[in-house]
């Protein structure tokens, strides 16, 4: 008995406030929910891979109304691929964010853990980094630069 999509909770927001995992998880937990997969991204103070460097803080900005529409689209794509997903939360924090601070969250809930709930969360963060219009500028002891993604959305995305 699959709950209808009609009243399944989908949360998406761009916020300047702290990301509260407890609160978001509670909001996407239904009576039928038994499992949640949550991804969070944090600001790294020290990066070792690719171009090793230190970060003092990141400055995030978003094209807010479009970003929220695209987060909704990411959630819709998740539901299309994993119809058993019950609740979805997609949150991007913006502003000046320091190392160790959670900046983004994708959470998916389902009745059981073997339903693709991990893959759904993974898909969600990958898609967010492709199509949701958010950018970050790195500020380090030696200067600042915009981080640029490498994905070009295709027509219809």
């Amino acid at each position: 008995m699959q709950p209808s999509t009609f009243n399944l909770p989908t949360i998406f927001s761009i916020t300047e406030s702290e990301i509260d995992l407890n609160d978001l998880l509670a909001k996407i937990t239904l009576t039928s929910t038994g499992a949640a997969a949550i991804f969070t991204g944090m600001v790294r103070g020290v990066t070792s891979r690719d171009n090793p460097h230190e970060t003092e803080f990141l400055e995030y900005e978003a094209y807010i109304p479009m970003a929220e529409e695209k987060m909704k689209q990411v959630a819709d794509e998740i539901r299309e691929r994993w119809p058993v997903i019950e609740g979805i939360a997609v949150v991007q924090r913006i502003g000046k964010l320091y190392p160790k601070t959670p900046t983004v969250l994708i959470a998916c809930t389902a009745a059981h853990r073997d339903t693709g709930v991990f893959d759904a969360a993974r898909y969600g963060i990958d898609r967010l980094k492709e199509i949701v219009p958010v950018w970050k500028k790195e500020v380090s002891p030696t200067g600042e630069f915009w981080v640029e993604g490498d994905y070009t959305p295709k027509p219809g995305e």
């Binding site: 094209y63 109304p65 983004v104 980094k129 199509i131 958010v134 970050k136 640029e148």
Partner: protein, 82 residues
């Protein structure tokens, strides 16, 4: 002429020196035509036009799309959120 609103983000905004701009464009101007017009009118933006992403009314738009009147057109580099 059609009146449109341009929004710039991240590196593109830095180069444009402004967050937004209202301009008039010929009827039936395409995204490709808009890029050419911006390269001419704002030389600082010329280099950015190769890899820029463009949206019309918050949907990704491509070279042959026609820009409608009163459109909200945003220009920005590939996204880097998360």
């Amino acid at each position: 002429m059609n009146h449109i609103k341009l929004l710039f983000f991240a590196t593109i905004r830095d180069r444009a020196g402004t967050k937004s701009l209202e301009i008039d464009i010929p009827v039936d101007l395409t995204i490709l035509g808009l890029k050419e017009k911006l390269s001419t009118d704002y030389p600082n933006l010329k280099d950015s036009m190769k890899s820029v992403l463009i949206t019309i009314n918050r949907e990704y738009a491509f070279d042959d799309a026609v820009v409608p009147s009163n459109a909200e057109v945003a220009l920005f580099p590939p996204v880097s959120g998360g």
